[in-house]
């Protein structure tokens, strides 16, 4: 059960981090082009870019730490640094590791920007255009583990309804573990019931 919580937490933080990173990249591209969005002054876009980036790092840390302790993902600490050596879906996990490493380089050089100089910082910062497209399919592929042909563990952990539909598997979270007040619709958890039950 606590394992489930870690898995949910890892997913949630991962998605939020990815969404924030998307915003960060968009703001960065926008700032570089010289135009500003929403009528914001340039320094505000700049600060938003930085703060959203740091916030996404925070969520990413939650994502990584949760997965580190999740028994199913079965991460070794070396998976945080060396890509493609994991045990659970090593390719997709490896993409996440690559994205994490690139992001670490970007964040560290950005924090040390004034010591490194603009030139070095900018060269490393270009890695953002690499790390974001790498991070994107990581999240997408993990989400797709619920899709046909990818009936992994998350068939029940992420979407019991989806898992039942595509994998022909009843959710692990059985009716017995939940109050029977909404019996017959527990498959739809955590979604809202779609049809009013008679």
């Amino acid at each position: 059960m606590s394992d489930d919580i870690l898995w949910y937490f890892a997913r949630g933080t991962g998605v939020v981090s990815l969404v924030l990173l998307t915003v960060v990249v968009a703001l960065g591209v926008g700032a570089r082009s010289g135009r500003t969005a929403f009528g914001l002054p340039r320094f505000a876009v700049n600060l938003l870019h930085r703060n959203a980036a740091l916030l996404s790092v925070l969520f990413l840390a939650g994502h990584v730490i949760a997965l580190l302790f999740d028994s199913y993902a079965n991460l070794d600490p070396i998976d945080l640094v060396v890509p493609f050596v994991g045990s659970y879906r090593p390719f997709w996990l490896g993409l996440g590791t690559v994205a994490l490493d690139l992001l670490a380089a970007i964040v560290i050089t950005s924090l040390l920007r004034h010591r490194l100089g603009a030139r070095t910082w900018r060269i490393v910062h270009w890695l953002a255009y690499l790390s974001w497209p790498i991070a994107l399919p990581t999240g997408w592929a993990r989400a797709a583990t619920t899709a046909p042909g990818g009936c992994g563990r998350s068939r029940s952990a992420v979407s019991p309804w989806w898992g039942r539909r595509w994998c022909g598997v009843r959710p692990r979270r059985s009716a017995a573990s939940r109050p029977a007040t909404n019996a017959g619709s527990h498959h739809d958890w955590p979604f809202r019931q779609r049809r009013p039950s008679r």
């Binding site: 004034h114 100089g117 603009a118």
Partner: protein
């Protein structure tokens, strides 16, 4: 000892963040490059804003220099 603002014109890209953060000291020309309003001495009240402007400059073209230091850096033109 007060600080003075120094712009590295070879690095300045005219992004215009500094003039937004320090409107008391810097104006912006038509191309976004900063124009000094005065002698670029930073009053104590503006020091946090000046540090922020230095920190946020995308081209790292803005610096705070100690005025004493700056005076010692001034050299007589050679003949």
């Amino acid at each position: 000892m007060t600080d003075s603002l120094h712009i590295d014109w070879t690095a300045c890209d005219g992004r215009g963040l500094c003039a937004e953060l320090l409107p008391e000291l810097l104006a912006e020309d038509d191309w976004g490059y900063p124009v000094a309003r005065g002698d670029m001495t930073v009053p104590a009240a503006l020091e946090p804003a000046a540090r922020e402007a230095v920190d946020r400059c995308p081209a790292l073209a803005l610096r705070l220099v100690k005025q004493v230091q700056q005076v010692s850096q001034v050299r007589q033109p050679s003949r």
